[in-house]
Assembly symmetry: C2
DNA sequence: CACACATCATAAGTTTTGATGATGAGTCTT
DNA sequence: AAGACTCATCATCAAAACTTATGATGTGTG
């Protein structure tokens, strides 16, 4: 009684679009094909699975319970294809250079390009690949040998890295005309109930900020949530509140639309420079890593640039 | 510079198979197509993504770092298709009946069929769908309206159910010639270091069993792990050890190759009969539910068949 | 060294699948 | 009853997927 069925991806994609949009016509538009084409795909699929996926009620399609169960599985597959496409464009953007460096977004706009430029000045014929990404992606890339050197935040997800840890002290960014600019150092007490622009709740610094406020018995008034330091700054510029930022994002202070103050108690960002344990560093890689660590020593919190083992969590 | 790329699923499937098997020839066999066909798909994919996925070294394919990064994304998608196929066959096995009942495996061999037979005796022209599945799948099916009545174990994963809780007391099954058959009730002290056949460590009863042994300062000697009560029984029959089982599995006691004893402290299985909050029970559904709850009252631990709210975890 | 047997790539030809546009039937609105 | 929707069906055609046949290259063996 077992019979061959050949679920084709196109059919699942069609099915997915129909459930999502509610009608065949709209689904066809979403996929950029004609309505009869989609009708066919659906008919094929229903013939092959041998149960109804939709009740035809008064000319409309109403998903059966079976369809809803199936949809959950199909969802994973169809959405997954988007992820693959994204991965492909990420990989396409990587040029083949002699030295590959990836760093987390917040450090990628001002600091890293400047350092790389300085490094490349003495080496005119060397090609360097530099890319900005999320911390987890950077770790994946360095682990797989796609990039030689990565700069990202903790936590580390694998154990495949040589790790150089350093810590960056965060500061509070405020609009120029903010009343609290009169203080030299800001504390939770001073900032009690002040509108705050914060990172998503899963980010380290957010949790530490919240803890600092709780400790001081102050209220953290989280007005806007965002997920890139760079975005927070935009809101600060617009005067919507204050934000806790890393000094790299604050480099643009010169634009004169916001300023910054230290925060007490200090909140540090746990950052790391990683290289792959699996393959040894190239000569240029070594040279750049030395420059990077040396330079970070000037910015980072004292005594925090050192060799260290990866600590997960 | 952005150019159109049309990642076809078949190409990803090909890529996935090649990475998995290591050679094109083997991958072709796995997918059931010819080697040149696969070679073509790979060539297409490499042309479209515009970076090498494999180095051709001495006639063999060696994945590039890019390929390994891509593989992780592709993996999700391709494996997902298998899940969809599995879901489809699950759904195909469901017949269209007026009354749909699903129950967890352990209760599905003896008890439920017998009860359903009794119920159907008075109603000769009624079609009933009955299916045995894992607890989580049963919940999904009842939640989506695919089945009217489900019998499964806690924990409940949604809040979409009307819940009737009951508790089943487990017993220790032993081979007939086991020395411990001389006891009327078995305790952790008596069973200290006795070879045990146990459920996987994620199952409730396993954790409680372990706790009971720890409390008594006895050693739980887990000799075999399995994941279906029915399987445990097979090992007991073979004399490999004793096992903690629900009374439904023990119904076959008549076969004379094992026996059972109560265990102290009592270990109960948290079970529930669920129906969907979303749609009201049909008349037959109501009737069967009444019969089921009434009958469970005779088997279950006293005072434990009652209406209750779902409690998660 | 020559032979058998792997590997992957290419070419040409066939079958299957996907999509189109025209058409029709049903439902709801106005 | 017209018009704007829905979805299904048909004939048709192009693109994709697969086939067989063949060649180039590499490896291991007597």
């Amino acid at each position: 009684m077992m019979c061959e069925m050949s679920l084709r991806f196109r059919q699942l994609q069609a099915f997915h679009a129909i459930i999502e949009t509610g009608t065949v016509t709209a689904a066809a538009a979403q996929l950029g094909i004609s309505q009869p084409g989609l009708s066919n795909l659906l008919a094929q699929l229903e013939r092959e699975v041998r149960f109804r996926l939709f009740e035809r009620q008064r000319g409309r399609l109403v998903p059966t319970p079976e369809a809803e169960v199936l949809y959950r599985e199909v969802e994973t597959v169809v959405r997954g294809l988007d992820h693959v496409a994204q991965a492909v464009t990420d990989l396409q953007n990587k040029q083949a250079g002699q030295l590959q460096i990836a760093s987390q977004h917040s450090i990628s706009f001002g600091y890293m390009p400047r350092l790389i430029a300085r490094f490349a000045a003495d080496r005119p014929d060397m090609a360097i690949t530099f890319q900005s990404q999320y911390s987890s992606k950077i770790q994946e890339w360095v682990a797989s040998g796609l990039f030689e050197i990565g700069v990202c935040e903790r936590p580390l997800l694998h154990d495949a890295f040589n790790v150089h840890a350093f810590h960056i002290e965060t500061r509070i960014a405020l609009p120029l005309d903010h009343p609290l600019t009169v203080y030299d150092v800001l504390t939770p007490e001073i900032l009690d109930n002040t509108p705050f622009i914060v990172m998503g709740p899963d980010h380290m610094t957010h949790r530490r900020l919240r803890a600092a406020f709780a400790e001081a018995g102050a209220t953290l008034n989280a007005r806007v949530h965002s997920h890139l330091f760079r975005n927070l700054l935009g809101f600060v510029r617009e005067g919507m509140g204050v934000a806790l930022l890393d000094p790299f994002a604050l480099e643009e202070e010169g634009d004169g639309r916001f300023t910054s103050r230290p925060f007490a108690p200090r909140i540090l960002m746990d950052m790391v420079v990683i290289t792959s344990k699996a393959r040894p560093l190239s000569t240029v890689g070594r040279a750049f890593l030395d420059l990077l660590l040396d330079d970070l020593g000037k910015i980072a919190v004292k005594d925090s640039v050192r060799q260290a083992n990866p600590s997960n969590a």
